[in-house]
């Protein structure tokens, strides 16, 4: 399969990339890891006239921690870098749990987290993780920078809030205010398949009390689902088997699964509940295991 014909540019600076995008308008598309865009172009689901390859832009392959604990992931940071990251292993259990579950090891060598967010696939894993963590995306365009909260970044299936001449240059995960725990669980038929169901859960605790909780769902709706009520139900009280069961019920109620070849809607909803219980029961060793 071939993509349809396009013009290719590989700018050396962000300013040049933005001006190319501005000139290309609706028909221009940013290429980073290409692990979603190239397949879409081959299937002719996407036929951009101009490809702006950002792989030669310097200084975007980082993921790093600010002194205050904020984690920043550049647009060219590959999944494999996050999978092997000592920083995430020690500081960011939710991202560390998700990184090895993205696609397969070969795709992880090229694909990027920020690209995955932009692709906005309802079955994309990172969008749920960044949503659960309360993260945002930094976009750069002709008028400068702006921060877009993850909950507003995905506007629908395969749709994001970027203007045609904006580039998502960074994903930002705010510093936890207490102790951070949580994880990401994904049900897939085999390695590399899209998620049948994925659940990201992040819990911040101060002493025994949960100060903030975020839960987001992959593959059980037309776009990434933020299970806001489930998260809010956990806040302000200790994590117990009862509070976990409440949150799991609310998360399952927030899911909008459809029956397809990966499973029935009922099964997927059940798995959302099971995954919330599993992640949260492991979040704190002192809690009675509910799963």
């Amino acid at each position: 399969m071939y993509p349809s014909r396009f013009r290719y540019e590989a700018p050396r600076s962000i300013a040049e990339a933005i001006s190319l995008l501005h000139e290309g308008g609706d028909e221009a598309k940013v290429l980073a890891g290409g692990q979603s865009l190239v397949p879409l172009m081959k299937l002719r689901f996407a036929s951009p006239e101009l490809i702006v390859d950002i792989n030669n832009l310097p200084g975007l392959d980082y993921h790093q921690e600010d002194p205050d604990g904020t984690i920043r992931i550049g647009a060219l940071c590959r999944h494999v870098d996050l999978e092997r990251s000592a920083l995430l292993k020690s500081k960011q259990p939710v991202m560390a749990a998700a990184a090895p579950l993205i696609a397969d090891p070969i795709v992880r060598n090229r694909g990027t987290l920020v690209g995955s967010l932009c692709h906005a696939d309802p079955q994309g894993d990172w969008a749920s993780v960044v949503t659960a963590l309360g993260g945002h995306v930094i976009a750069r365009g002709p008028d400068g920078k702006r921060a877009i909260p993850m909950t507003e970044f995905v506007t629908g299936p395969f749709q994001n809030a970027l203007a045609p001449d904006e580039i998502a240059v960074e994903a930002v995960i705010p510093a936890p205010k207490g102790t951070l725990a949580g994880g990401y669980l994904k049900l897939e038929r085999r390695v590399g398949d899209f998620a049948t169901v994925g659940v990201a859960a992040a819990i911040e605790t101060s002493g025994e009390v949960v100060t903030r909780a975020g839960i987001a769902l992959t593959g059980v709706g037309g776009s990434t689902i933020s299970a806001t009520e489930a998260g809010q139900s956990l806040a302000g009280r200790p994590l117990t088997a009862e509070s976990i069961a409440d949150a799991a019920d609310l998360a399952a109620a927030a899911a909008r699964p459809r029956t397809d070849h990966r499973g029935s809607a009922e099964y997927k909803r059940h798995m959302v509940r099971t995954f919330v219980v599993r992640i949260l029961s492991r979040a704190d060793g002192s809690v009675e295991r509910a799963a």
């Binding site: 071939y2 014909r5 396009f6 290719y8 081959k42 299937l43 792989n55 090891p105």
Partner: protein
């Protein structure tokens, strides 16, 4: 190097965008003039005539087209050839010397790591990257590293054994 396209008469030849790229293939320096929509797998198979890189699914699933780009395994059906500009590509043809098999190839032979052989080049390239990074992998490490490559014949058992065989051989040589 020449790549010939069908002339459908719908676009003037002058409208076809052409980019010039420089890259190395199995250590040899190359220059190519290509249309940007050409995939790396097509550049390798049709442009360079290196048909050891197989195309199975053409949808980023099977890993048969895996090659190394700057040492890292990549599915060559999911990278534009124009993106190879300035990079080093290694294919299965680069494994062996003029008269000797690479230990991975020997391993696949000794442990019956293939039946139809279609997935084998991709398996070997993914395995090569693993053994470069981790000369003493466990069985689990091998299974993990090859989890992006599909085989419909072997059930994987002998592929894993083959890679472990090659790891032993490479360690004994060094």
């Amino acid at each position: 190097m020449t790549i010939v396209y069908e002339d459908r008469g719908d676009e003037a030849t002058s409208d076809v965008p052409v980019n010039r790229i420089r890259f190395t293939i199995n250590g040899q320096k190359m220059v190519a003039e290509i249309e940007p929509r050409l995939l790396l797998s097509h550049l390798i198979r049709r442009g360079l005539g290196l048909t050891g890189t197989h195309m199975g699914c053409d949808t980023t699933n099977c890993g048969a087209c895996t090659v190394l780009v700057d040492g890292r395994p990549v599915k060559s059906c999911t990278m534009l050839a124009v993106q190879a500009d300035g990079h080093a590509i290694e294919t299965v043809e680069g494994l062996s010397g003029p008269s000797e098999l690479h230990p991975l190839q020997e391993g696949f032979k000794a442990e019956h790591g293939l039946q139809c052989g279609f997935c084998t080049p991709g398996m070997m390239m993914a395995a090569k990257a693993l053994l470069t990074e981790n000369p003493s992998p466990t069985e689990e490490d091998v299974r993990w590293a090859l989890s992006g490559n599909l085989c419909r014949c072997t059930g994987y058992q002998n592929i894993v054994k083959s890679v472990l065989w090659a790891a032993d051989k490479l360690r004994s040589q060094s």
